[in-house]
Symmetry: D2
Subunit: 97 residues, 4 copies
């Protein structure tokens, strides 16, 4: 089953600007070997459930080190028999516009 996840995770005890922490997380995702895409409100990752959960856990662990409060939001759209949905979902809609 293709699992397409959008992950948003940031500390809430570090003041208004948190881009160093977001960068830390995005680096982990970029290097995880799964297809991914950075967006303005979160990073999308596509893979199998266990692969995705392993990356999400790695991101959490990386913030846990020096953050006292962390907010996380994860949206997942899981579909059997589907592939390359990171690009496919956008193309499917764009082709109908």
């Amino acid at each position: 089953m293709s699992v397409l996840v959008e992950l948003t995770i940031f500390p809430t005890d570090k003041g208004e600007s948190v881009s160093p922490y977001v960068t830390r997380v995005v680096k982990i995702i970029n290097e995880c070997g799964l297809e991914c895409k950075l967006g303005p409100m979160g990073t999308c990752i596509e893979g199998e459930w266990d692969e995705i959960m392993a990356v999400v856990t790695k991101c959490y662990r990386a913030l846990e080190v020096d953050c006292d409060r962390i907010y996380m939001l994860m949206k997942a759209d899981c579909r059997k028999g589907a592939v390359d949905r990171l690009n496919g979902k956008v193309h499917s809609v764009e082709s109908k516009l």
Copy 2:
């Protein structure tokens, strides 16, 4: 205050594939005059609060016509004194990678 919203809205009474309904919504957003960006898990829109809410309401009304159950998810990141965050947030992180 710059309001950056990611909107995800779809019917849950129309079976597994809902891209015609998503397309209907994306058309409304594309034509609303605000900066926007289609992504795999939602569409980002940037503007002032009232402008954004007017578009979100328009999307809801367009589905309400023939959908009996609708699921919506809206994430908003609002920040004073910030502009062009639709591109700026991604660039800020990419420049630090």
Copy 3:
């Protein structure tokens, strides 16, 4: 159409503890005249679309006054011909357990 919304809204520029701001928001919701229920991760409100949106906007305006960055998350489950879903959805599941 019954609109059941869960609203989570808080400033991210006020440090780790934000309960005074959450309290400000919950007061507005409690006094709005719609059915509502405070939970550990957000407050649920039931009503018509325009009623709900008016309350959400009031909550945003109340934080905008003295917060420089605000994060908001809104989940909505909208269903035609349904009533009292604030209690009904939980009871429906509990009766099947």
Copy 4:
């Protein structure tokens, strides 16, 4: 670190009413041994990260069996040195109203 999660997970290929599937998930959460609370828009669970993720995975696996498309939403509020936040967060706000 206390991890407070709100989990919403349901199939989108089973038509308008999905309470049998939600019930299946809530049973798993109720029997997992962690503190939990059923709400109108999701179920809150409190525990350590790995415990929570194990339960979320179990819920996903239980739906994967006979669902072709699954939507999931997970919100997490993680805080060091905090306990009993399932009740504590609500009480903290209620005491200030």
